[in-house]
């Protein structure tokens, strides 16, 4: 009896210990699958980001020039830099042009194509139209930018030639005036961007159970009611994805600005990424350019986290049936 008592070890700790051991063995088992991603993340993102932070604490011309320690000087210099603030103010306009407006228009177009045109003229017509809206997304941004530059040229561009033909004596100087350059760039960005939410929303709509609509229709719900009570809640996950990806794209937008205005006229279309590029390449102020890129990166991470938290909260609510 005594022997048995002594020989029997406590049950609980042994169980816990073996679970821990199994977990650790599981982790080791997954390692070969995790390792390539971890290495790639470290080499491609983590180390360069760390180096970029290191550079941002220095004054450096680049190349073999000496690094001079500057502490947080580049960051405090940014605070007093009017162009830096202008570039971030313009980012709000970019979010409007690349996230808010395209998402709203995309939602409207997708539901119209799906609900009205798709049902009346068949899915093939809806698909063709969807592809048409997506075309600007496929077009290289350099090509799109050059085309829009031609179209919007103040003297020889198609838009102003037409306006003059119909009697407008002084048509707008689209990309050349501080009043019109930013709105014009925004319009081009909307044009580029619209196809993306249309495609995503249309595939989301195909996922929604048609019985929901049929039931609502039987209950006498009109289009607007069905849209508000069924469509919008059902496609919420896709809406989050679009908002997240487009917001990140809007904050780091570079190509369209480079091709259309190079930040001008008078810095009216300057954006952070282009400003960083200017400092890095044209002014050889590598530390300062790195500081701008870091601020931008942190901002992008913060906004992405906020959107992802909101998305998780929304999904949790849905699961809980609220």
């Amino acid at each position: 009896m005594t022997t048995v008592d002594r020989a029997a070890p406590p049950q609980e700790p042994r169980t816990r210990g073996s679970r821990r051991g199994r977990r650790s063995r599981d982790w080791v088992g997954y390692l070969p699958y995790l390792l390539p991603g971890l290495i790639a993340f470290t080499v491609v993102i983590l180390i360069p980001f760390g180096m970029n932070i290191w550079y941002s604490l220095h004054k450096w011309k680049g190349g073999n020039a000496p690094l001079r320690w500057y502490g947080l000087g580049n960051y405090t210099d940014l605070l007093a830099d009017e162009q830096f603030w202008t570039s971030f103010r313009n980012s709000i306009a970019m979010i409007l042009a690349m996230v808010v407006v395209p998402t709203l228009i995309g939602l409207l177009l997708a539901t119209t194509l799906f609900d009205v045109l798709g049902k009346r003229f068949g899915p093939r017509v809806a698909s063709v139209l969807r592809a048409t809206y997506y075309l600007p997304q496929i077009l290289p941004v350099a090509v799109a930018g050059v085309l829009w530059n031609w179209i919007l040229n103040s003297q020889t561009g198609a838009v102003n030639v037409i306006l003059r033909e119909i009697g407008v004596a002084n048509p707008p100087n689209w990309l050349g005036s501080t009043d019109t350059a930013l709105p014009t760039v925004m319009l081009v960005l909307i044009w580029i961007q619209i196809g993306y939410p249309v495609v995503i929303f249309m595939s989301a709509l195909q996922r929604v159970d048609p019985e929901l609509y049929e039931a609502a229709e039987l209950d006498g719900a009109g289009w607007w009611h069905r849209f508000r009570a069924i469509t919008i809640p059902q496609i919420k996950p896709e809406t989050f994805v679009i908002t997240l990806t487009c917001t990140v794209a809007a904050l780091k937008v570079f190509g369209p600005i480079y091709v259309l205005t190079r930040g001008g006229p008078e810095s009216s279309t300057l954006v952070p990424s282009y400003y960083s590029y200017l400092n890095f390449f044209d002014k050889s102020k590598v530390g300062y350019g790195a500081a701008i890129a870091n601020v931008l990166t942190v901002l992008i991470i913060l906004i992405a986290v906020v959107i992802m938290v909101l998305q998780a909260r929304s999904a949790r609510r849905e699961e809980e049936g609220r």
Partner: protein, 436 residues
């Protein structure tokens, strides 16, 4: 060296990632000379049919004749490609032996101060380059430790020159009964006559270099050599509210208000300007000798080229430089090649094709128009009249000048405010340059 390279590449990558700048990485796949002395790798960005392109082809031909055991590997790059990426790819080992590069504090000066290109002073002395090239051309060849041109070691060798002048549509002048202006007053009178006839006289472009060069012509009109040495070479402090800068900026403002420059030209490019002059939309274009070949090819009307009236100094400089990367494998072959580009047979091709040779003789040029332009350039050199370009003093100044002068075209800033904007960026850039 290797760790510096890694640092820079990692830094570039780090910057490139958040910004998604696909164009940041230099393409090194095809570059790089062999280290065995059997290969010479040359990078340049001239079109084959341009004066420079043809002259470089001749230089390569001569080099191959004189170095039968050496393979010459010529790679055509684009100006932008080399301009933007040189700082990155020159830190690697896979670099050309000799490369064409833009000149000035903001460009070759930066590479020199970053230790990315080889000092050439010994070669310049021993091979006589210092005697061959005129003094004002040598300014852009030399850079000090901070990358400021005009003193220090030789870092590049120019073969040709360029300057800004005035192109006239002679048919349009004749139609208005205007003789080609020989004085500044006559030039202004011509502008007024055209405007009165409902023709905007000056082809301009606010989004790129042309408007800055016109502004600088006016600064040179009212200023003197001391001011230019202060402005370009940091000989002394520059007061941007001084008489010459003020008069020049106010004169440009006056011309804009008078309608001598189209009010919608703020976003136009140099290409827009050139095409509108070629199309006969505007009768006068103030721009560089680099347009010459294209104008000869494309203009259907009678046209002439002259120096900006009454100016003793003109925007202009040597052409681009031949530089030897610090990590080049076959530097001696590179020096031989550079030496060949300065020989009479290569310089003659530049001259005949309108490329403004710096070691040539205009008397042998057969085409009248080309001869006239080359003589104009020689007269500038004789008077030490090359005043470089307005965006040269500090890195990143090009965008500042473009932006400030766009404000003038759009009438959103007064001349005094424009000068304040130019002054602030200049002083900041100068401080950065001098502090290293």
């Amino acid at each position: 060296m290797a760790s510096a390279r890694k640092r820079y590449v990692a830094g570039a990558l780090a910057l490139a990632l958040p910004l998604a700048l696909a164009a940041c990485g230099g393409d090194s796949s095809g570059g790089g000379g062999g280290s065995d002395g059997d290969t010479l790798t040359v990078w340049h960005y001239e079109n084959d049919d341009s004066a420079m392109g043809q002259a470089w082809a001749k230089a390569i031909e001569i080099f191959e004749d004189e170095h039968p055991d050496v393979t010459v590997n010529v790679e055509n790059q684009t100006f932008e490609q080399i301009q933007k990426n040189a700082k990155i790819f020159l830190t690697g080992d896979d670099v050309p032996d000799v490369m064409e590069y833009n000149k000035g504090n903001a460009t070759a000066g930066q590479l020199a101060s970053q230790g990315l290109i080889t000092p050439l002073t010994e070669e310049a002395d021993s091979r006589g380059w210092a005697d061959t090239l005129p003094d004002s051309i040598q300014t852009t060849a030399m850079y000090d430790e901070q990358g400021l041109m005009g003193s220090g070691d030789w870092y590049g060798v120019p073969n040709y020159g360029e300057f800004v002048g005035v192109y006239y549509n002679q048919d349009m002048l004749d139609a208005q009964g205007i003789a080609q202006p020989t004085t500044f007053d006559e030039f202004e009178a011509a502008l007024a006559t055209f405007k009165a006839a409902g023709i905007t006289p000056l082809a301009e472009a606010g989004a790129e270099y042309p408007l800055g060069q016109l502004w600088y012509e006016l600064v040179l009109h009212y200023g003197d050599r001391d001011l230019i040495d202060d402005y370009q070479l940091f000989a002394d402090d520059v007061d941007f509210q001084n008489e010459a800068f003020t008069q020049a900026t106010e004169k440009l403002d006056e011309w804009i208000k008078a309608g001598y420059i189209a009010s919608d030209s703020a976003a136009l490019t140099a290409e827009d300007m050139g095409v509108s002059f070629i199309n006969g939309t505007y009768p006068i274009m103030v721009s560089g000798s680099w347009w010459f070949g294209r104008l000869v090819e494309e203009i259907p009307f009678t046209w002439t080229q002259a120096l900006f009236p009454d100016n003793t100094m003109h925007p202009g400089s040597s052409g681009n430089l031949w530089v030897v990367p610090e990590n080049a494998a076959n530097k001696d072959l590179a020096y031989d090649f550079i030496d060949i580009t300065l020989r009479p047979e290569v310089q003659e091709i530049l001259g005949q094709k309108g490329g403004l040779p710096v070691a040539g003789d205009s008397s042998s040029i057969t085409d009248e128009k080309t001869k006239e332009m080359t003589e104009n350039f020689e007269s500038i050199l004789d008077e030490d009249g090359l005043a470089f370009y307005p965006d040269w003093p500090v890195p990143g100044y090009y965008d500042v000048i473009v932006s400030e002068l766009q404000s003038l075209v759009n009438q959103s800033k007064s001349p005094s405010e424009v000068l304040d904007g130019l002054s602030t960026a200049y002083q900041d850039g100068k401080t950065d340059l001098l502090e290293g």
